[in-house]
Symmetry: D2
């Protein structure tokens, strides 16, 4: 049983802790949060001891690996400390909102052979993964166009938006990663348009967008199209369409149940989509822990590497520059 | 161009006349109806001359074949007269409500080699036909269970019900034929239950049912289940499911368009089903004419034989006896 | 935390034990199996102590309630003993294969006010439950026809079939319960046909059927149609269709993921169905434990009562008699 | 009965002629093609006289209106001549490949009040139209994102590509029109990427693209995304998705029948998509003629105006410039 120390006991950290507790080959070995009550709540659920500091987690002999789910601006520091303490790390995305900080962290941990996995959980979704496999194994031939639709079910709180780093770094970043995962090659050019349609006043105040389309191309001409909205009334809209020379693979939306209704004015009326990511990506969150446990125990490759975390941020930066300058941006301009 | 005389210019006759008029290898050569205005209306649409009697149609040199779409109780007489006059016949179902009359008609035309096709149009539906083919070509292996759902979109007028011969002879008869078509063998035992749920008073007055389930088995144990209702609010529900040792083929419902809507309480809300048979079986009605023209011109087998018309009625009789006696009925009891 | 003693550590017992262990308000307090190795394996997973006998479980102060998942022929004895020992019971279906034994057990526990819940897990499936609710709340108006399709993904082992009590008592029994659940009234007449299509030699040897259709009616004329097969190549086919005066509610099949593929000869090719009941009814098994915990802790009604367990068996007996006698059977003939 | 003269009897002209012939309020009054055999073939089907020149059609007293389906480079000339002759015109798209020529033609016919309808047939598709209505009537609230997927089922012949004016003017032009139709406002900025993935050598030779993505925005920030490919193995992929503040409306693909198959490795395997535009947009072609007949007979607005034809070309020009310059193009740069 791999003992995992959980750093950060907010909504996502608590969910990870519960998943680890239920995992057949892992258990929660320690919990920490700057808010002791949050740590205590997770301790009550999992039986894991509350620690007084992250440092205490890193030095605990019961802790074989750590999961970092703290505030974004602490990720890189904690990641460096964990590696320094010899602990494998599963770190929530993003590594940091600053590419410079991400690169300093990369330098600081460059020597390590310990597993470092970044939390792009969607790679582990069974449907999205089946698309990935249909591309990789040639089922759809050569990939030509990749369309990723990602719309949140409800507008986020203002407090969240103020610290998110903007829609490209907080929301589209999942789609940048998904695009890289399925393309199997790096986008080289990025074009983005953003609109302020849902909450224009707030978006103006924050200089952010609530509705995004990004088009990326690779050197060989593959096209990736990312379609985002902060608010879809019908639920959490999460689709991936891969179109290739031999066919098409589509990961479709999911609902909480499969009852459909017909009446005098309609047929096959289904439930709203699963809402929200904890429900929609439940199996994926489990599989993410699985992959991390495998990496630590068996030395198998982590599902999502540090560099994957970096490159998604590079694309977000390129898209932001495209938005700001109103032009196509070469990814090489960013880093 | 095959000249077809149309006998009966009611709703179905008029529809057939229009289809014949638009057919590349056929035209309407004459029209007749006991109601001259109805005949005139079809004449106006098609340019075909109105004839004063069925006999005049049968003797017209311009008439190569006839379509009988008159009142049910005239079908057998007209069919006999047409054959006597040397005209191939496409006769709407049912041949007659009386099995004895059907058998007398069979005897009267026994000598003929002229094509006689009965109007079980659903055999020509592209979806149902694809199920048939998936059974015949072994795609689903040995057929084990066949489920036919057939529900009308709205309760028929009382005047219609009074003359229909009852739900088994007027509505389920299509499903008896579809079952025989797909089973590829004769049902030997029939069990039926009927309920009076939609219009119980009227059903009691007519001693008829508005909701029917029939279970039939073949000698080899294949099971066919027919599910009928006189009124489905969501449209004309027409499905065929064939389950076999290697898989399942299902002919699904059809809608007038493919727009689906999602909103705050639902997703993928589709339009009501195509309503009614003229719309739903439009391609099938065309293909039925096609098959008849082929039979007349090329001697290919008619799509639905006189015996098919008879056997569907036999099953309806068996089901009626099952309803009346509250027991399983051997088809051999009927004839 | 409710301490639940698990009796029977085979496939189903072990699954229940894992679900109880992961349940936020329950834990496994003791395990027992006639095969000590099976009990030990569940003990290893859950940390619960292995007990030497069922009696030891019933008398353990740590055991607040028991789950009976032993061989069918021990259910009634253990249920009586558990109630005698003052323990609430969640008992896997069927209570017993003999209606007489079920009724003796009923008499033996007649005095108790302890919760006794029978394991008809499908009532807890979110899709099936949504159909139930669409019927109960009037969304589809008056229920007219209920069609339950239930096909297993693979033929069971011969050893299982020898002790199952026959397809009606072991497989269709779930559908008898589902029919009663959704109808909201008792079927009064039962008709069944059985065929031996998949493994005819074995079925002949066992005098059992592998392919079943049952039609039941209620006093008011509602029709329920149960469609079973022991083997569907495409997975575990589990559908419920409720057709009523205002519309239709259908609980559709489920797949392990939502990727669909299109190629040069097909579109929207989806994965085989979830296979088998542990996967397909995962949420339902959780909700079943939930309902039992609620019943024990809060006195809420059990989701499925002892009488529900009895009545499903009565319908199975009626269907068996229908098969044997080749006639409609009045449920009142059975008991 | 409106007498329509058909100019151009190639594949599309012949199809239109057949539709006109079957139309209840119109007939083919004359046919003309530079290839007399082609004209004769349509004459044989419709009974309409073959004319020796377009001029003869324009002056025929039997011709109340004309349909122009000749080679693209003759459209504008014929349109001017028809208007000069006082005949209402239904002209196939595009008006011309040159915006200058389109504008000269506009000037030449500026004085007329005769109906001039351009053949953007997809506006008449029942599914796409239902999306349009869901946007117009507020069902999905304010439109935020519009995604139009349009992929041809097979790569066109080289001879066609050489004269098509390039993918943006020949294929995407339908989507530019669909975008304008559903947006209900003019796109103001256009960005396009093109790739040569299917037939790179031929595309290089022609300096054309086979895979296209276009992103357009309106002044208010609505986003339209057009996704094209010259070759989808699974059929003619034609989808429209409108996402708005209250929900989403999607016009889905269509198949020739509704049979779905399940087997040991898959479920719900459907037929390839309807292939090609004559099949897929059959109802739309009928409705297009309907709208034109209405415009001529009743003075109702044409379904697609001359200006609609022009504006689609403007967007194609803007997209081409975007491709060539690798930048966002303001539509005002074009005209």
């Amino acid at each position: 049983m791999l003992g995992i120390g959980v750093l950060g006991c907010g909504r996502i950290g608590a969910m990870h802790a519960a998943n680890i507790a239920a995992h057949p080959r892992a258990h929660v070995a320690a919990v920490y949060d700057i808010n002791p009550a949050a740590a205590q709540a997770v301790s009550d659920e999992t039986g894991a001891p509350v620690m007084a500091s992250a440092a205490e987690v890193f030095t605990s002999p019961d802790v074989d690996a750590v999961l970092i789910a703290t505030a974004t601006d602490t990720h890189a520091d904690l990641l460096e400390q964990a590696i320094a303490a010899g602990k494998p790390v599963l770190c929530e995305k993003p590594i940091d909102l600053s590419l410079a900080r991400v690169d300093r962290c990369a330098a600081a941990i460059a020597h390590t052979t310990l597993p470092v996995q970044i939390g792009f959980v969607r790679r582990f979704d069974p449907g999205h993964r089946a698309v990935f496999e249909a591309v990789r194994d040639g089922t759809i031939g050569e990939l030509h166009q990749l369309i990723i639709t990602s719309r949140d079910p409800g507008f986020p709180p203002e407090a969240y938006l103020e610290k998110s780093g903007g829609i490209l770094r907080d929301m589209t970043i999942h789609d940048f990663d998904m695009a890289r995962y399925i393309l199997g090659q790096e986008p080289t050019r990025v074009f983005a348009v953003g609109s302020r349609l849902i909450a224009p006043n707030l978006m103006n105040a924050l200089d952010d967008e609530d509705t995004i389309t990004v088009v990326m191309t690779t050197a060989s001409g593959k096209q990736a199209i990312l379609i985002n909205s902060r608010e879809a009334t019908y639920g959490y809209d999460q689709r991936v369409e891969a179109f290739g020379s031999l066919g098409m693979a589509v990961s479709e939306n999911r609902r909480p149940h499969h009852m459909v209704l017909s009446g005098s004015t309609f047929t096959d009326h289904a439930a709203p989509l699963l809402n929200f990511f904890i429900e929609r990506y439940r199996e994926a969150f489990d599989a993410e822990i699985d992959a991390f446990v495998d990496a630590v125990e068996n030395g198998s490759p982590v599902g999502v590497s540090y560099n994957d975390g970096r490159q998604a941020l590079v694309l977000a930066e390129a898209a932001l520059k495209s938005l700001q300058d109103g032009r196509i941006v070469d990814v090489s301009e960013i880093g």
